[in-house]
């Protein structure tokens, strides 16, 4: 059997699966994210990550004997900026991924120092709050005492791998999303970038997420209950593990995760260069990835239900009866700014085309349609980069009820596969562990259902999509002004 563990933003999860992919045990542990100041988000590595791993492992080992666990794989939130000494002991709390926006100044400085075009050419990405380098620079500048002792940098999964095995190693996908440290074309570290923001740190060894990089050492075995010597994989960032859990294996397979935000990741054969998307390495050797993310999705659904003073499920039922196109309403879903493909943190939401005839169900449906338009916009950006999604796999809480996925398929004209299991990244970890031990996992998590687009709605949605795209361009300056007037 195979143990997968995933560290999320607000909880961690463990999954044990057998050789056929059947779930044998699961466990979940909630945790909190510290926000010491607005725009700062941190996890204490020892108190949150390690403690969760130990507790979850002990919980599943209560039902599964440690001797039955053939391999362990860990994934987690990322990219993070955790600095540690030469033994791997953390020197401060880990600074989390793109939600932490403390290093705005350093983003600009580092972009200027390395050259904006060079950064995109080397890493495939522009520097945003997601980037790791500016956060390291921030620590060096604001916490010189910490920085003087720092020798290593970690994300969540590879720090836990280090805790289990003693190895200082990171997977290519995590490395490639930790901008600007990784040279996507060379599939290796970019020395100039390390010199510019982390010259005094040692660089971790690079491995593929599915590689076995070490084994559980004696001390870790005593703490966790795992058998000493159990093989440990490199692991990766949660998004990649989640996509694999849902069955995204081949080039062109694209996961659409309907959460409070929306996330997409596609496996591609060549590095993707598009300044509206995130480029990265792939899960397996010889592959790359292109990812995208929208700032508001499920959040927006809840917001509209809150405005209408109704339950989401009840409103969704009414919205299903509203005609496609919501009788002429168009929503721009940029309620929290937007990430891909417009990278506009100062964008704001819009609800356009209102008349006296529109009621709460119209507005609710138009919000779903607005998010679906945003999905189509991201797919078009992928297409511009030569990476049109070949197969969509939908996961996440937003697939429940079916209305949202149906609207997405109608707006994009693309079918979506729904997998049998949607338990998340920890299951993908278990699957990678099984692969590493030579198991054929191609039968794991088969497709349970498929959402087909209704071609009858295509002409209308095509026109409304044109309105959607045009409206943002026409309103952009005013949206920026409004975000500035209301103080951010």
């Amino acid at each position: 059997m195979f143990l997968g563990i995933d560290i999320g933003t607000s909880s961690s999860k463990a999954t044990v699966a057998d050789e056929l992919g059947t779930l044998v045990a699961t466990a979940t542990r909630p945790h909190t994210t510290a926000s010491p100041r607005p725009g700062w988000f941190e996890h204490d590595a020892e108190e949150t990550w390690w403690r969760d791993l130990v507790a979850l492992t002990r919980e599943v080992l209560a039902t599964v004997p440690a001797s039955a666990i053939r391999a362990v794989c860990v994934s987690g939130i990322g990219p993070c900026a955790l600095v540690a000494d030469e033994q791997g002991w953390p020197l401060r709390a880990a600074i989390l991924y793109g939600i932490d926006s403390r290093a705005e100044r350093e983003i600009e400085e580092l972009t200027d120092a390395l050259g904006a075009e060079t950064v995109i050419r080397r890493t495939g990405n522009r520097l945003t709050t997601q980037a790791v380098g500016p956060k390291l620079l921030w620590i060096a500048r604001h916490e010189p005492g910490v920085w003087a002792r720092a020798r290593r940098w970690y994300c969540a999964s590879n720090w836990l791998v280090g805790r289990l095995t003693g190895e200082y190693v990171i997977d290519h996908y995590s490395g490639s999303t930790s901008d600007p440290l990784y040279d996507l074309g060379a599939r290796d570290w970019w020395p100039d970038a390390w010199d510019a923001c982390a010259a005094t740190l040692d660089r971790p060894r690079l491995a593929w997420p599915g590689d076995i990089v070490g084994e559980v050492h004696t001390a870790a075995a005593e703490t966790t209950g795992l058998r000493a010597g159990t093989p440990v994989l490199a692991g990766t960032i949660d998004a990649m593990a989640e996509a694999y859990s849902a069955g995204c294996r081949d080039v062109g397979d694209t996961m659409v995760m309907y959460g409070s935000t929306l996330f997409f990741i596609q496996t591609v054969a060549q590095p993707v260069a598009h300044d509206g998307l995130w480029a990265g390495s792939g899960r397996a050797p010889g592959t790359y990835s292109v990812a995208a993310g929208m700032s508001s999705a499920g959040l927006l659904i809840d917001w509209f239900a809150g405005l209408a003073h109704e339950e989401v499920d009840a409103l969704a039922l009414e919205a299903a009866a509203v005609p496609a196109g919501s009788d002429g309403l168009v929503v721009l879903p940029y309620f929290a700014g937007e990430r891909t493909p417009i990278f506009d943190p100062r964008a704001r939401g819009c609800c356009i085309g209102l008349t006296l005839r529109h009621g709460p169900a119209h507005l609710f449906r138009s919000a779903l349609e607005g998010v679906a338009m945003g999905i189509r916009h991201n797919f078009e950006a992928m297409g511009e980069a030569g990476a049109t999604p070949a197969r969509l796999v939908a996961v996440g809480g937003g697939t429940r009820g079916g209305l949202w996925t149906r609207i997405t398929s109608d707006v994009t004209g693309l079918p979506q596969d729904l997998p049998t299991e949607t338990i998340g990244a920890a299951y993908g970890d278990a699957r990678m562990a099984a692969d590493a031990m030579g198991i054929d996992t191609s039968g794991w998590n088969p497709v349970a259902d498929r959402v087909e687009p209704d071609p009858a709605h295509a002409p209308l949605y095509d026109q409304l999509y044109g309105v959607y795209r045009r409206s943002y361009v026409a309103l952009r300056d005013d949206l920026h002004l409004l975000s500035q007037l209301s103080g951010g």
Binding site: G349, C351, L354
Partner: protein, 456 residues
Amino acid sequence: MAGELVLGIDLGTTALKAGLFDLAGTQVALAQFEYPIQRPWPDQAEQDPAAWLAAFDRALSTFGGDVAAIGICSQANTHVFVDAEGAPLRPAILWQDQRCGGSSLVARAEWVLREEPDVWQATRWVLSPKDFVTSRLCALAEPVTDALMSFDLVDASGAYDAELVASVEGLAERLPRIERFDVAIGEYANAAVVNGTMDAWGNVYGSSVVEHGDAMDVAGTSEILGLLSRNAFPVQGVVTFVPVDGLHLHAGPTQAGGAALAWFASVAGRSIPDVLAAAASGSFGPIFLPHLLGERAPLWDADARGAFIGLSSDHSLPELSRAVLEGVAYSARHLLEELEHAAGVEAETLNASGGGSQSDLWCQIKADVLARPIARVAVRHSGCLGAALMAATGAGLVPSVREAARDAVRIERVFEPRDDRAPYDELYAAYRELYRALQPTHAILAGLRRQAVPTS
């Protein structure tokens, strides 16, 4: 003389409002009687003239017979076609009706001549609602109208524009003669009945808008703004009336005022008082364009649509509620600016009446957005009071309607613009810009609507 009571009637689109006043302008009683609108086709709107008479009868029986004079002001651009006996030949065509594009009497007459020639043949008079009602009440042999109600048919002297009237064959002889709006034209149950005029003029006198530079905001289902001036520099989108006592009224109606608030309350699943209470706790957030039915003055754009622009996940009911009130205020500011161009004078203060003026918060927001004091009058139904003052004038109970308005209309509270108001000048500029930016979007949406609705 203080014991004399006069009745002022506002014959509106959805209801007849009747107010009983003493000569000091105090409201003694008020009643409202609703009647339906028939919509036989999506772009048509009609009303049964008999329903107006029935509502009038109920008003009078509610108040008893002790009335010295009656004044009626009514909806404009609504037309009744009657025979020689004064009986309606078809339902009245309402101002909202779009069957012939415009709502002018000429366009309506042309339509009836072409589409219903039998009706046109039998038509002796084409009347406004108040002309219809007064001629029936007083059993007039020949009905009477006034130049203000006929604003789009008269020349600068207030007489019918001969060339315009001649554009429809047989129209000239079907028009009633024009008299001043504040003269008595007959009697009903011992009460003098005055000519009356269009509803906006009832609001003018009921809001004490009587001098050069005086202005009003009637906050009803829509916002009606008016500004009085010695001068007239006609501006597209603004109605400039023939002068009364040497003063032109420059006026226009927006499309959605109170209607926008009522709509938002229903979308938010809350009551209007709840929305107003929420708005009081919100700071400014998104910008709301209130064009939920297109827009009338000053844009006159039927394809315009409403919008919330600049929404953030931090916003909730308070910010959106406030945005609705602010959006209506922006539309009022836009209209007022156009009125000021037409009038060549700035309004120092706006006298506010109507249902929307009952909200202190909304009055304050308007004062802040329009950057001038909002003076709320004591009698919210200013149209009824104005009609009553015309009645008193026509009955000889007061020397003139202007003087009566000056004396009888009391300001209840003045809302001054606050020093620490939100950055409304910038937000208003953004509001104007947003409408322009969205025009291509509105054109596409209008095209989609036309595709969706079969036109034949």
